[in-house]
Symmetry: C2
Subunit: 187 residues, 2 copies
DNA sequence: TGTACATCAGTGAACGCGCGTTCACTGATGTAC
DNA sequence: TGTACATCAGTGAACGCGCGTTCACTGATGTAC
């Protein structure tokens, strides 16, 4: 933790670290404050409530993931090229900030019911992209949502394995293999 | 909730329902007791603690899943036949008790660090089966753990979609399609 | 049939605890003149 | 340079609350004689 970071960012970083290590519900405001060398009341100078802090961590990052995915999904070329681009985006996000990726992975179930199904929702982006490709005849016909789920599973489950130490490499190092697996699904 | 069930089973059932609906940490012993028409202290006649109740729900079921998977993994024929059998087992488990499946799905991250990596661990069963097939040359060479993760992802992510209403069909009704997707991965 | 007693699932009241949050206050830093 | 004041991140003490859990007790049911 470089002390050069602004207090607000140090709080976000340490909170994320603790949430991933112990689970969101097992970490108190006092725990977070202690990790940044403060007392709990000081956190309220930066976030209006615990809910606000967690929301700032989850929703902003989740939307940013969706934004980058939507960009890849709108790229040039056929569906397979765009699928490869999307997979590479997600793997790159894992490589660039694994802590954030793990946080989204572990806390998703607590938030997914609140997340709007709009164009910044990563899951929605993939579902729409697959459905469009299937409707256009670019890939074999079937249940588009099931196929989208399978693609997401191929990316997310290895990240879970990494988190629990079953895989030592991150998604960044396995990108090419993951791309190959995803492309097999749409063959 | 048939009142014919023994009190202990009614408690387990209602607890599971509440945990899936609101998250494990958001449900108190008083909530569970109210759902079965009791007061909180009565629960302690059946379970020694909250931890004990949750553990009874998770670990026994998780081990049973592992046992059934191990049985399918030890079946006759080549790897592809055994993989198909394993996928069918998981889909059948989802079809036979979706609430239980969802409970394991939602609470896994809170327990996976405690689960021993033995022969009753469903993830371990799949990892070993894939690794053996790869070592025997039954399927193309690669990272066996990554492939195992991908297979698990193809099954688990559609279950997550069902849970959040993105898919209306359960795994039971999509079994054949899921089998096809998994077999594509090992081609 | 009637009485005394054992059993035991369930309860009301209470416990200590850690939680999120509030608020008056501190004390270091920067600015005005 | 020196003094008075404004600013503001951070703090100590305290709050009300809901939690898991304990325990003496209740009251229905079954058994012995």
């Amino acid at each position: 933790m470089p002390p050069s970071l602004a207090p607000k960012d140090r709080i976000k970083r340490e909170a994320m670290r603790l949430f991933v290590a112990h689970g969101v519900d097992a970490v108190s405001m006092r725990d977070i404050a202690a990790a940044v060398g403060m007392k709990a009341p000081s956190l309220y100078a930066h976030f209006s409530s615990r809910e606000d802090l967690i929301g700032a961590l989850f929703h902003a990052s989740y939307a940013e993931y969706g934004r980058q995915l939507a960009e890849a999904a709108a790229g040039p070329g056929g569906f397979r090229g765009r699928l490869e681009a999307m997979v590479r985006v997600v793997c790159a996000l894992h490589a660039s900030d694994e802590l954030l990726f793990d946080f989204l992975l572990l806390t998703q179930h607590g938030f997914l019911r609140d997340v709007p199904m709009d164009q910044h929702n990563p899951v929605e982006v993939i579902c729409r992209s697959v459905a469009a490709a299937m409707a256009a005849g670019d890939i074999p016909t079937g249940n588009p949502t099931l196929l989208a789920a399978a693609i997401i599973g191929i990316i997310v489950q290895p990240a879970t394995f990494k988190l629990y130490g079953r895989l030592s490499q991150g998604l960044g190092e396995m990108t090419d293999e993951i791309v190959v697996l995803c492309l097999k699904l749409v063959s």
